[in-house]
C-alpha cells in the first residue's frame, strides 16, 4: 500500500480527538509554520504542486500568493466543506475522522495569508459533522491552538463553523461567500476575484477540505517530497477517490496522483462490477464530469490526463454504471439535479437546464423526436461556457457526452416509443 496522507486515520473511531491527533504528530506542522515567514509557507506549498481538491484543480500555492500582503480590510480563509457534487463524499470522512488535520491546515493557511478569522462552510445536511467540528474547535481553543495567542507565538486566529442550508451552488466559491454572508447563494460576477474582494469585502481564500488537510503533511515533510508523490510533474501528493455505484466495493481510496488508472481503480481496487455485470459507463469526477465508456478508462487518475480524455477529474467522485442501467434515465436524473440547483441568475442556465431536463424526460417516456438529440446537443452547447459560473458547464458537459456516446440508446427510446430496458 502506498503512503496515506488524508485517509491515514479513516474508520478509526478513536482518531478524531485532539489527543490522538497530537500523539500521532498532529500540530507539529503548525509549530513549524509559526516559526516560518508567511512567504516561505506559500513557497513550500507552491513547491508541493498541490492542486485544489474541490474540482477546479487550481494550484493552491499560487492561489494563496494572490492575496495582497497589505490589506485595509480583514482577510479571510474559508474552508469549503459544502461537498455538494454528486458522487463525492470524501470531505465528510476527513471531518469525521481527522477534523484536526483540516483545522491545522486552515491555521497554517491563515498564517500564510495573514487572516485572523477563518470559517468552515459545511453543507447544512451534515448536522453531525458540524457538531464534530464544533467539538474539535473547542478542543483546539482549549489547547491554545486557536485564539488570541496561538502556542505563544503572538499569532491570533479565530475559526468558526458556518452551516449551509441546502444548495449545491454554495460549493461554488463565490456562491459560498454570499451564503456565508447570509445572502442567497448566488455566484458573484468576477472580477473581482475572492483573493481581492471575497468574504465581507476582504481578500479571501476558499479551499476545499481535502486541500487543507494536505497542508500539514507538506509542511512536515516538505513540498518537494509531496510533489514527488505525484506521478506527473505538475500535480503533487495523493488524492482521495470516491467510488460509488455499481462496483463491488464502493468507498474512498487514496492513491498518489496519476499512479492508478480509472480501470485499475474499478477492477483492481473496487473489486470490479457487482453481480458480474458488464461496465457500461463511468462518470469520473462527480456528476458534472462528461461520461466515459468502458474502452476509455485506461487513463491515469489525475487532472490533466482526464481533461485530455475529454472529461474531468473534478472532485474525484467516480460514479460507476453497469449494463442494467438506462443511459437516458441516468442523464435525465443528473440533468434534473442541475435544473433543481441552478440559482436562476443567468439566462442560459436558468432556462436551458430545465429545457434539457424536459426534453430528456420526454425521451425517457418514449415521446422523443428524432430531432431531439441535435436539439439537446445544441441547447447544451448554448449553455456551455456562456454562463456566469461553472454550473452551466457542469450541466451541459454530461448531456453532450451522454447524447454523443449513447446515441443508439437515445434512438432506441425515440423509435421504440419507450425505454428498451423497461
Amino acid at each position: 500500500m502506498s503512503e496515506l496522507i488524508v485517509s491515514k486515520f479513516f474508520y478509526n473511531k478513536e482518531a478524531a480527538p485532539l489527543e490522538y491527533y497530537r500523539k500521532h504528530g498532529g500540530y507539529e506542522a503548525l509549530k513549524k509554520a509559526l516559526s516560518m515567514k508567511p512567504e516561505d509557507i506559500i513557497a513550500e506549498v507552491k513547491k508541493s504542486n498541490l492542486r485544489g481538491r474541490g474540482g477546479a484543480g487550481f494550484p493552491t500555492g499560487m492561489k494563496w500568493g494572490f492575496i495582497p500582503k497589505e490589506s485595509k480590510v480583514p482577510k479571510y480563509l474559508v474552508c469549503n466543506a459544502d461537498e455538494s457534487e454528486p458522487g463525492t463524499f470524501k470531505d465528510r470522512a476527513i471531518i469525521t475522522y481527522s477534523p484536526h488535520m483540516m483545522i491545522e491546515g486552515m491555521i497554517i493557511g491563515s498564517l500564510a495569508i495573514g487572516a485572523e478569522t477563518s470559517y468552515i462552510y459545511i453543507r447544512g445536511e451534515y448536522v453531525r459533522e458540524a457538531e464534530y467540528l464544533e467539538k474539535a474547535l473547542e478542543e483546539a481553543y482549549d489547547a491554545g491552538l486557536l485564539g488570541k495567542n496561538i502556542l505563544g507565538s503572538g499569532f491570533k486566529h479565530n475559526m468558526y463553523v458556518h452551516r449551509g442550508a441546502g444548495a449545491y451552488i454554495c460549493g461554488e466559491e463565490t456562491g459560498l461567500l454570499n451564503s456565508l454572508e447570509g445572502k442567497r447563494g448566488e455566484p458573484r460576477v468576477k472580477p473581482p476575484f475572492p483573493a481581492i474582494k471575497g468574504a465581507f469585502g476582504g481578500p479571501t481564500i476558499v479551499n476545499n477540505v481535502e486541500t487543507l488537510a494536505n497542508i500539514p503533511a507538506i509542511l512536515n515533510k516538505g513540498g518537494e517530497w509531496f510533489a514527488k508523490l505525484g506521478k506527473l510533474p505538475n500535480s503533487g501528493g495523493t488524492r482521495l477517490y470516491c467510488v460509488s455505484g455499481h462496483v463491488n466495493k464502493p468507498g474512498l481510496y487514496e492513491f498518489p496522483c496519476a499512479s492508478v488508472t480509472l480501470r485499475e481503480l474499478i477492477y483492481d481496487h473496487c473489486g470490479g462490477i457487482r453481480n458480474n455485470r458488464k461496465l457500461k459507463a463511468v462518470i469520473p469526477g462527480g456528476s458534472s464530469a462528461p461520461v466515459l465508456l468502458p474502452h476509455e478508462i485506461d487513463i491515469p487518475l489525475d487532472i490533466d490526463p482526464m481533461a485530455k480524455a475529454g472529461s474531468m477529474l473534478g472532485s474525484a467522485g467516480v460514479i460507476v454504471i453497469d449494463d442494467t442501467w438506462c443511459a437516458v434515465k441516468a442523464i435525465k436524473r443528473i440533468t434534473h439535479f442541475y435544473a433543481h440547483e441552478s440559482c436562476g441568475q443567468c439566462t442560459p442556465c436558468r432556462e436551458g437546464c430545465r429545457w434539457m431536463e424536459d426534453v430528456l424526460h420526454r425521451i425517457e417516456d418514449g415521446h422523443g423526436k428524432a430531432s431531439d438529440m441535435d436539439l439537446l446537443l445544441n441547447v447544451a452547447d448554448n449553455i456551455n461556457g456562456k454562463t456566469l459560473c461553472a454550473l452551466g458547464d457542469a450541466a451541459a458537459g454530461p448531456v453532450m457526452s451522454f447524447v454523443k456516446k449513447f446515441r443508439q440508446e437515445f434512438e432506441d427510446h425515440i423509435k421504440g416509443g419507450k425505454c428498451p430496458s423497461a
Binding site: 480583514p74 461537498e83 455538494s84 457534487e85 454528486p86 458522487g87 463525492t88 463524499f89 470531505d91 465528510r92 453543507r123 447544512g124 445536511e125 451534515y126 448536522v127 453531525r128 479565530n158 468558526y160 458556518h162 452551516r163 449551509g164 442550508a165 441546502g166 444548495a167 449545491y168 451564503s179 456565508l180 454572508e181 447570509g182 445572502k183 442567497r184 447563494g185 448566488e186 465581507f200 470516491c242 467510488v243 460509488s244 455505484g245 455499481h246 464502493p250 468507498g251 474512498l252 462518470i283 456528476s287 467522485g317 460514479i319 454504471i321 442501467w325 441516468a330 436524473r333 443528473i334 439535479f337 433543481h340 440547483e341 440559482c343
Partner: protein
C-alpha cells in the same frame, strides 16, 4: 410587532453567534437554523421575528429562506424522511426505496402522514454516495439501505 414566539435559548444563541461575523446579515442562516429547531418549520411570523432579532429588513429573509431547500416553509412531521434519489443513490435503488416509503405511509413525497409522524421529501445528493442509498431522518443519516433495513430503522424510532 406580534408577540415573540422564539425562546430565550434562541436569543441567547444569537448573542453567542454575533461575535463570529462582521455583519448582521451573516447571522441569518444560523438564526434560521435555530428558529427551525424550535418549530420544525418557519412561518411568516417567525421570519419577521428573525429579521427583527438580527436587525435586517424582512424582505431579505424571504429572499434567502426560499433559496435554500432545508428551511421548511410548512410544517413537517415528527420524523422528516429525506430520501436522496440523486444518481449514486438512484443506481443503488433509491427510487424503489422512495416508492416503498410512499406506499408504506400512503403519502407521496412532499406530504405528511395524517398523524403528523412522518414527512417524506425527495432530496438531492446528501454526500453519502459510497454508502448509497441514503435517507436522512431529521439530523441523522441512515446509509447502505434497502427496504428491509429501512423498515428496521423506522420500527426502532421512538
Amino acid at each position: 410587532m406580534a408577540k415573540k414566539q422564539l425562546s430565550e435559548d434562541f436569543y441567547k444563541g444569537i448573542e453567542k453567534l454575533k461575535p463570529r461575523y462582521p455583519t448582521n446579515q451573516a447571522l441569518l442562516l444560523p438564526a434560521l437554523h435555530l428558529a427551525q429547531k424550535e418549530y420544525g418549520w418557519i412561518s411568516s411570523e417567525l421570519m419577521d421575528e428573525v429579521a427583527a432579532a438580527i436587525d435586517i429588513p424582512p424582505p431579505v429573509v424571504r429572499e434567502v429562506i426560499t433559496f435554500y431547500t432545508m428551511y421548511n416553509l410548512k410544517p413537517v412531521g415528527k420524523y422528516h424522511m429525506q430520501v436522496c434519489t440523486n444518481i449514486s443513490c438512484a443506481l443503488m435503488g433509491a427510487e424503489d426505496l422512495l416508492h416503498h416509503c410512499e406506499k408504506k405511509f400512503a403519502i407521496e413525497a412532499g406530504e405528511t402522514t395524517r398523524d403528523g409522524r412522518f414527512t417524506i421529501t425527495e432530496v438531492e445528493c446528501l454526500g453519502a454516495c459510497g454508502t448509497a442509498p441514503c435517507v436522512q431522518i431529521n439530523d441523522d443519516y441512515h446509509e447502505n439501505l434497502n427496504k428491509e433495513r429501512l423498515d428496521k430503522v423506522l420500527a426502532e424510532l421512538p
